[in-house]
Symmetry: C2
Subunit: 337 residues, 2 copies
DNA sequence: CTGTTAGCGCCTTCAT
DNA sequence: ATGAAGGCGCTAACAG
């Protein structure tokens, strides 16, 4: 790989002129510009990004921390991030944390060692290690779809989870359901709270009794959905409708309900959350909440770049609108069930 | 962010000693080592990766080119890549190309500008622009699951696609099927050829006639699966079994067949390819080919690192074993159909 | 408009 | 075992 110097020799100019030809072409006469470009061609010159980054202190890269790469919902977000980043001339460093704190720490530390200028976090954990915590103050961080817990309030891009589950709950209540089950994900997270509160709010409005032992689950996976459905249907008072806190859980739940010989939605209604692509093609198509994941990813990039460029943020929370998709996995309560 | 110099001052040593403390601790006396570490702590020092990369000429990063981030199969590969890279101290730059040549060119050029040391490609296109082609000769490139077309033979990690579709075809023929349809992805790629050849090989063995107008499709998406199924079922001689060249296509095909009032597998058998997670939880669970995507991703990292480190490769093609999963979307031919 | 010069932060001989 | 000094490739004043 050839360097500036070779281009200098070939074009008969100084390094400054070469640099300028690339960064401020208008400050170079057309003649020399052409000569320099030609020299670049001939020598196969490529500017060394790293070298210029050392100078400017900017790596033009963003790190994305994702708890689980195989969750299609995250992928939609990441795709949005990726596209927005490309448009802005940034590249994306991907870190699959598997929810393990050590991995989070290690990946997050990339932004401390100048590999990246900012960090986008798709989980609720504080990603830095204790010893790095004080360094993290100056680092541009944004969280998407979750809120990072801890003292510092990081900017966040999120859905109105409370209103979303309210609308799901109303939808099911309107169908006559009174006995519910919930299969949740990780319970420590903020979105868990918001979603639960939304449901319980409707129950309170409608004076529907609900016992917390009808909440099962613990992770956002198909397997948890299966296990959760089995558990709920073994309760003394079986639910006629089940809230699943994401679509993967709903996929597992529906699979298991069918295996138990139950029909969806004739016997049990099931609703999901996220609207991953495949839910529209399931049997039955899943009633769920559509999150504008792609747009949320784009917004995350926008916000983190504002922080990087010291543009003051309008607000610390960006709340995106949801959309309830009433498909065929939910229906009227079955009086004979 | 503090630099070496501050550590020097605090510890009362030279920059060389600080550098050595990190890279060759054994060459520094225990006393000073401790002093230096303490100084690092106090000043919150983080080595600037970029700066050292300029010196060493290694960025310790790999670029991954993906045609479509939302395809779950690619995600399994990427997860494998990510993990292996992390273990080796490399970070992963992700580039979603959307199959667009310009994007490919731009992302691939990162490896020319020293942002990355190597490139892993999940598509069959030659990723560099024409003007970069001659520079690409010296760049470590590996392709996974596809073979990069062009003059140069890049190392490739792949499945025995021929044998895999052979086994699917035998499976269906054993069930008595004689009338087939195929919904394919992009037809220019090598894997398309191999998979088609595998199927036709079995047809030849069994003297089963097959007309190429029973091949439809054009992309690896759910929508193409839907459209393909509709098209095939409108043919004068309807197939009793359909090969889908990936699982997304199969998902769309099954959805559409049901919509047409047909039962799977009682009326029509459907088989997929890849074994993405959700296929095990569909109704009916999909018969498909399991690819060890995770391991293939890991292998890709291993191979590209060998090239980077000038370790001679044992072979230019690594062929991974497949596994046919006979689930419930395929069954005996229906004589009344 | 162009060249000279002085670094960016780190690594690495070469001395001591 | 440690320090001084030069340089990786590029950028950014400052001159001219």
């Amino acid at each position: 790989m050839s360097t500036v110097k070779e281009v200098c020799k070939l074009a008969g100019v100084s390094t400054a002129t070469v640099s300028r030809t690339l960064k401020n072409p208008e400050r170079v006469s057309e003649k020399t510009r052409e000569r320099v470009f030609k020299a670049m061609q001939e020598s196969g010159y490529r500017p060394n990004m790293l070298a210029s980054s050392v100078k400017t202190g900017k790596s033009n890269a963003l790190v994305v921390l994702v708890p689980n790469l195989t969750n299609p919902f995250f992928l939609k977000i990441i795709q949005g991030i990726e596209q927005a980043a490309q448009e802005k001339g940034y590249s994306v460093l991907l870190g699959d944390t598997q929810g393990e704190p050590e991995r989070e720490n290690e990946i997050a530390s990339m932004v401390l060692s100048n590999r990246a200028d900012g960090l986008i976090h798709l989980d609720h954990s504080f990603p830095f290690s204790k010893s790095d915590a004080h360094l993290a103050d100056r680092v541009p961080v944004v969280s998407v779809c979750e809120r990072i817990k801890g003292d510092k309030e990081f900017p966040v891009i999120e859905l109105d989870n409370y209103a979303a589950t309210r609308s799901l709950a109303k939808h099911l209540v309107n169908y006559g359901h009174r006995k519910f089950g919930i299969i949740a994900g990780q319970e420590e997270s903020r979105i868990h709270h918001d979603r639960l509160a939304g449901i319980k709010g409707v129950f309170a409005d409608e004076e529907i009794p609900f016992d917390d032992n009808m909440i099962v689950g613990g992770a956002y996976s198909i397997e948890v959905g299966q296990e959760g459905a089995r558990e709920l249907m073994a309760k003394p008072e079986r639910p006629t409708a089940i809230f699943c806190f994401n679509d993967d859980i709903a996929i597992g739940a529906i699979f298991e309900l069918k295996k138990l010989g139950l029909r969806v939605p004739e016997d049990v209604s099931v609703v999901g959350f996220d609207n991953i692509k495949v839910t529209a093609f399931m049997d039955p198509p899943l009633t769920t909440i559509d999150q504008p994941a792609h747009e949320m990813g784009r917004k995350a990039v926008e916000v983190v770049l504002q922080i990087i460029n010291n543009v003051p943020l309008r607000r610390n929370r960006e709340i995106f609108p949801f959309n309830i998709l009433e498909r065929e996995s939910s229906g009227p309560v079955n009086p004979n069930f």
